[in-house]
């Protein structure tokens, strides 16, 4: 289990990570989401002792990364794949990391094979495509056979086949009981991979839960109501204090009531004696829109 405990990282005035707390459980894939600049990479760098925290800490089964003996053996980390000497081959890169992970040449070969780089293992990384670098980055993370994986935007640069491969890989690793945290700035990218999401914006936690919870958060709350007399519906909304989307739009025959349980809306409309043409929980906004509204709504106070 990973515990992010009131983590704060400041760059001058900017709070890149702002009192962030959440937990990541083993046995499932957790998506770490937020738009670009939300603080995902910074959070992962602080967690792995690459940069100092200004407050709080990150514990891996009760220990900080810095205090781990042979951390690669316990935590596999893949940040941006821009960390290779262009003159080294993939095999060289892993061999130089092998002592840290406490493994030998055999394991290096196996991992290269596993990520599908065996054929190009002797080629200089300078000649690698972004997708191949991503695979090598993942190979390095897996080198020490860690029980926890921290991956920063791992699908970047991968082709569709690679994306499907990594998706299945992460799920397989989680099924083995490992802890997997994988970041993305696009919900759609991880939607089919993750069991749970942690969403941050401006360095703060805005949501943690399963995808289902995320979905229901919105569908429960918006209701499209269409009645014969639109004005009386608007009056009802006003008297109830409901928030109505786009009320002045004359072309819209219905009214979208936000933030209220559809069942309650239905009762109120019925009691007001309005003749209902349609009353539907709104699913117009997909997950992506929920994500957007969650992360945008954070305002620009920095």
């Amino acid at each position: 289990m990973i515990v992010f405990d009131h983590l704060t990282k400041k760059y001058g005035q900017l709070r890149a990570v702002d009192d962030l707390s959440f937990e990541v459980q083993p046995g499932r894939v957790t998506g770490f989401l937020g738009p670009n600049g939300a603080g995902k990479t910074t959070t992962l760098r602080v967690a792995t002792a690459l940069i100092h925290a200004d407050g709080g800490q990150v514990m891996f089964d009760g220990k900080t990364y810095h205090s781990l003996k042979k951390p690669m053996h316990q935590i596999g980390v893949a940040l941006e794949p821009t960390i290779f000497h262009p003159g080294r081959t993939a095999a060289d890169h892993l061999m130089m990391l092998a002592p840290y992970a406490g493994v030998g040449r055999k394991r290096v070969k196996d991992v290269l094979d596993f990520v599908g780089l065996t054929d190009v293992a002797g080629k200089r990384v300078g000649k690698y495509s972004l997708g191949m670098r991503g695979r090598l980055n993942l190979a390095a993370a897996l080198l020490g056979d860690p029980h926890t994986l921290l991956l920063d935007e791992p699908v970047n640069g991968l082709d569709p086949e690679g994306i499907r491969w990594i998706r299945e890989l992460l799920q397989a690793l989680a099924r083995q009981g490992r802890t997997v945290l994988t970041s993305s700035h696009l919900l759609s990218e991880v939607e089919q991979t993750v069991d749970e999401v942690v969403i941050i914006a401006h360095g703060k936690l805005v949501h943690q839960g399963t995808l289902n919870e995320l979905e229901s958060r919105q569908t429960r709350r918006a209701t499209l109501v269409e009645v014969e007399d639109r004005d009386s519906l608007l009056r009802l909304a006003l008297s109830q204090g409901w928030q109505v989307r786009d009320p002045e739009n004359p072309r819209s025959r219905g009214v979208v009531v936000e933030g209220i349980d559809p069942a309650y809306v239905s009762r109120a409309v019925y009691q007001a004696g309005l003749s209902v043409l349609q009353l539907t929980p709104v699913v117009t906004s997909g997950l992506e829109e929920v994500f957007f509204s969650l992360t945008e709504g954070q305002g620009s106070v920095r």
Binding site: L50, I51, P71, H85
Partner: protein, 271 residues
Amino acid sequence: MIAAIRSEYRKFFSTRLWWILMLVMFAYILLFSGGVAGIFSWLETSDPETFQGTAESMRPMAYGFAPSLGYVFPAIVGALAWTNEYRHRTIVPTFLGEPRRGVVSIAKAVAGVPMGFVIGLVGTIAAVGGGAVGFAIFGFPTQLGDVETWKNAGLSVLALTIWAILGVGLGMLITSQIGVIITLLVWTQLLEGIVMLVCIAFEATRGVPKYLPGQLGAAIVGGSETAMLDPTGGLGAGDTLVWWQAALLLAGYGVVFGIVGYFVRIRRDVN
């Protein structure tokens, strides 16, 4: 610690720059040493009257070209242990693999010793080999059977080894490759000479120059006798230090650079 040292070797041997530098150093020293030995031997051969004993007197200088001309190379190779990592950001996987940065620092310094030794050996072979060939061609004695020659060759290897360690320390202070090279060249070719001249101008500071890195390097292999680029023409040398004092002090510079570098640079955030 063993693991961290092993990793350093693998990093080293999986890049090419260091042996390109070593080849350049070899050719450079060979050219100078062979050239000086050859030219002065030829002069003495062609006009024995005027140039009586010239070849003989040039021998220490020619055989000592590794520390007097070639020291920048092991220093740069030593610094590469850091500059390469920061330049290509392999410092990220390195610190992920070993988050105790002090351990990484010590591992790099330890790994630098045999590296420096190999470079020192290559440089010394170029100096002594090139010089000996130059003298031998014109029939002058090479003194290769002489204990003194071998002692000085050994000290030459030692001097370059210590320059490599100093380089590792300098790499911690200045993690930019070009920064290290510029610093080394500007200091050794220009600033050290100016500092020496200034120091000699005042009675109180006249003893200072012998503690400057370039002079320490020269002192390891017999001081002013081998020093070719002493702008004060030997004035600054004064009473030179014993070889081992000079060796320890030069290594001390590396340690001080390393300790300061650790606190101001290595411990900082890595992005």
